[in-house]
Subunit: 107 residues, 2 copies
């Protein structure tokens, strides 16, 4: 289970994938495989959280990394890049944006 | 602190605001005010989590609601709509998308 806490100091990647028609489940499976075989072994990885939009057109990875430096290094890992290439045939586009979590409020 | 758990059954709203130049902090303050005065009293509200992009151009609300029906009802609350109107002068656009959280993996 993932915890969101503005005081944890993590960097947050929100990566929005626009998927080709009917490919959301295939992309989800590819992301899970990449996470469990490669990404979870990269230093600085904290969590990955995969979401499928209700209309099936978008998949979002909400990922936490220990720092921006760790994230930047992870992007250079050849095995990671190979997984990304495999996903390109399933998607129209992707839009990775880095954020700081500034505020959380629960009911 | 917010918890992400694919088994919690929540609906997830990821709302990406593109902010006018220099307005990220003002939008963050407006979102916090709306949450603490209005949104946290609406039935079905679970959490709101506000993020500012490292480049200062985007603010994201990662929000959890108990169900889509609760979320749809919340959008009709007049006080909520009034807060949204106040925010329009700070933003270029916003893009609310509803998701299911399907998978979480922590380090």
């Amino acid at each position: 289970m993932t915890q969101l806490n503005p005081r944890d100091g993590h960097i947050v990647l929100i990566n929005t994938f626009k998927v080709k028609s009917g490919k959301a489940e295939a992309l989800l499976a590819a992301l899970i495989k990449a996470t469990e075989t490669t990404v979870n072994k990269i230093p600085g990885f904290v969590s990955a959280n995969f979401h499928v939009s209700l209309n099936g057109k978008q998949v979002v990875n909400y990922a936490q990394w220990r720092s921006k430096a760790d994230f930047d290094r992870a992007m250079q890992v050849p095995e990671f890049q190979a997984h990304m290439k495999e996903m390109f045939e399933l998607i129209e586009s992707f839009d990775p944006v880095l954020y700081e979590l500034r505020y959380s409020h629960g009911a």
